[in-house]
Symmetry: C2
């Protein structure tokens, strides 16, 4: 090499170093502005085994205060060992407002690897691609800054790096069977990666970065990250426009049209209750063994009888296999994330029954009416919720939603009774009375919610609960029918596979 | 059977039924009082396989509002698959104030089964028994109502029940290899259960209940539970007295005696930093492979340089193997549980390095000085923390604690600099200035903390940080030395096993 070229190389290297330094300084300054603007950032670093994802992330975080970022490296489980929806480990880790989360590979690797390995079918692959797009869009619409990088290296480069790691006693263990397998299947992986990026690049763009040039990869990634952040800081927190996808909906009656007269005599009630609970216990056994997840959602007017209804459902269930999730007002760390996060993190393991006592529908009821979110937020929620629930049923879950319904007079009678009975007084608060005054506004919101979110895969059921006994029997019947169907369906799937 | 005896039997059965009903009503009334008094309740149901733990719990919860209780059935992992301290799955699930948590078997089964299976040695067994006693005492002292029930059946009864379950297609799966093994080893289990109850019955009493008489078991359990709750409601939330166990302590200097003059020249610093970081990266590799957990605790004066120090430590680490946990003020769901809970739930997996940026020592500093807890609370905390950290080192963790130290003048200079530098202003708040006014009180509290909690297994290091460069090098040296020692020790252990 001539002296001249050598010098030019050195000066280029030096220049790159200066650029990286300046960009790191810029990022260091931005962390604080992100905090003030309450903007959360997701940095997804995907790419080949041995492409240098880990060391890239290490460079990116080198000047950020540890309070403002986190790195997550989710382990990809074998498909048959997954007890949660495939997006669960990623949704669980989304950052709080003002913080940056680096994913050291994430949902792309998960979907692609399982597809290449034939752990999921072509159809399932497509479903997952759709879910990924929905997931990213929902986060973007909630104001998340998302940067997606694919760290690319050639087959030759990968060979060299893997060989290099394997040669040293101390790094040998880092080359896994998985990595060697990917290397052998480089071509199939290349195709699958490209395909996935094509299919998921519309909402949030992919950036392919050459992993063979370390310094340059760092500089380019930093430029992208600081650029994205700068833009977001200028424009302010993004709040996506509502739109409605065509979900197959089940027509629902208006609440005012519902006949609330159905009732049951004590004797008939007791007899039916016993029979249904026995049957439910049997089904719970099967559900548990076949690892079918069940999500039961309870919403309803105050004093409609949700609690008692839930108790009649849980009574016959083996406590090892169910959870009741009471949903109260969100806490600060929950408010600091996309609103579905606190439900993602409460999802049941497959085979478990999870009963939500109030749900994500708070978004389009109390949060809408009390102004806890913007109009855009709750209008967007119908579609987001439909997507979320479809992701649950894609996973194999039975999702049933109950609106426990009473009329205004019945509520008044029950409120008054609570007020006048010492051991029931805790059940009635000033807030209940205030909410009661907003009955008409709530009714409007609920009608809209039932109309827009009763999908075929996750239907609403209006449960007539002026007579609580009737309501309990009705709910049990619906649950039992749905579980029987799910078990049959599950059996068919096994036989056809 | 004569008519007379038959009638007596029926009337006894009827009486029992009435008693259960009355007790359930009582419990129903108490749930609300528990909520008001903010009392948390732990019900631990242990016992033989097929003793009826699940159905007992189902009866107990049948009249409680789902918002006020939860049932957890932790899965006992094989010892070599556990990546957390053995108490972790149980500590993670402790209830919030005002709620009841039912453990469908718990730490007793965990310890006993592993012992009978020879997964842990006699010595480890004893260590775990001690940890269990500490765990229960700490919860009791924090006001938890704890009821421990052992559901007992004879070998013959167990045989009948297992056979009965195994005979039916629908329940066959419920009898596991584990259960059959327990049945074969009934005698050894009996001995181990009795031994465990003897060793853990002093702080919180065990109640042995005959599982062969279902109704009676329910009634007796309900009587115990409602009785305990009643007593606690009368007496108000228990707040245990402080006491100090003899921990082997390392003598610490007073802060005022520390010589803060050590400093490093830029060149020497850079050279050492590079060398130490390289070494740390190598050690991290080994730590990761050998699954040694590492817990690094940072405390220090405001503006002492914690953040920059942490960054120098994390820079060489593979992001897949470390986490930085910034500890802010506790959120409501954290305040509603024993104060160590939010640290239990943030513990690293074995093989990971976890860096706490502020720690559980907040209890004996800010919480003490600002009156966020009672005097008894923070005085009890020294011992509780020593126990907690010993549980971590018993698990195999390296626990190092750094007090990043500066003098008051240096703090003033840094505060002023922050105030006058626009991009640093976010780092300085009014609270920092207020805390600064309390320097003498803090110093006193810190001296006491260092004196009482620098145990041999989890020592404190005062890091002279008037010169940040010196402080960083010093911290790295300490960490490296400790990791090298831990790796040697781990190797020895393997060779001796």
């Amino acid at each position: 090499m001539s002296e001249e070229i050598k010098e030019e190389k050195i000066s280029k290297k030096e220049q790159m170093k200066q650029e990286v330094k300046a960009l790191l300084e810029k990022l260091k300054g931005q962390q604080q502005l992100l905090r003030e603007a309450k903007l959360p950032v997701i940095v997804l670093i995907e790419g080949w085994a041995a492409a240098g994802k880990g060391s890239l992330i290490n460079e990116l975080i080198s000047e950020i205060d540890p309070r403002f970022y986190n790195v997550t490296s989710p382990v990809i489980q074998r498909e048959n060992e997954c007890r949660y929806p495939f997006l669960y480990p990623y949704a669980e880790k989304i950052p709080e407002n003002g913080k940056i989360m680096f994913y050291d590979s994430g949902w792309m690797e998960d979907v692609v690897r399982k597809y290449v390995r034939h752990e999921i079918t072509k159809k399932e692959y497509k479903t997952r691609v759709r879910s990924v797009n929905e997931f990213e869009r929902q986060l973007r619409d909630a104001g998340y800054i998302i940067l997606k990088i694919f760290l690319d290296i050639s087959k030759e480069e990968q060979f060299e790096r893997l060989a290099n790691l394997q040669d040293k006693a101390n790094t040998e263990w880092r080359v896994t069977e998985e990595d060697r397998w990917q290397h052998r299947e480089y071509k199939r992986f290349r195709e699958a990666y490209e395909n996935f990026m094509d299919a998921t690049g519309d909402t949030v763009k992919w950036h392919k970065i050459d992993g063979s040039k370390r310094r340059k990869a760092v500089r380019d990634s930093l430029a992208l990250l600081t650029g994205k952040i700068e833009k977001a800081l200028e424009k302010g927190k993004y709040n996506g426009d509502p739109f409605e996808e065509d979900f197959p909906l089940i027509p629902m009656p208006k609440l005012s049209e519902v006949d609330l007269s159905p009732a049951l005599e004590e004797e008939e009630y007791k007899e039916k209750l016993k029979k249904l609970q026995k049957r439910l216990a049997e089904l719970h056994n099967i559900i548990y063994r076949r690892k079918i997840p069940v999500v039961l959602c309870y919403e309803g007017w105050d004093a409609a009888g949700k609690g008692g209804n839930i108790r009649r459902v849980t009574y016959p269930l083996d406590p090892r296999g169910f959870d009741v999730m009471p949903i109260a007002s969100p806490e600060p760390h929950e408010l600091n994330r996309q609103y579905l996060w606190r439900f993602w993190t409460r999802l049941p393991k497959s085979g478990h029954v999870c009963i939500f006592d109030r749900t994500w529908y708070g978004r389009v009821m109390v949060e809408r009416l009390e102004g806890f979110c913007t109009e855009k937020d709750w209008k967007r929620a119908y579609n987001e919720i439909n997507e979320f629930e479809r992701q649950l049923t894609d996973w194999g879950a039975v999702v049933l939603k109950f609106w426990i319904h009473i009329d205004s007079d019945t509520q008044l009678a029950r409120f008054t009774d609570r007020q006048n009975t010492p051991e029931k007084q805790w059940k009635i608060t000033d807030e209940d009375w205030r909410n009661r005054e907003k009955w008409p506004q709530y009714e409007e919101a609920i009608d809209e919610m039932l109309e827009k979110t009763s999908t075929k895969n996750a239907p609403w059921f209006i449960i007539e609960s002026n007579d609580k006994k009737y309501a309990r029997i009705r709910t049990l019947e619906i649950i039992i029918e749905a579980l029987e169907e799910a078990i049959d369906h599950h059996m068919e799937k096994i036989l056809n596979d």
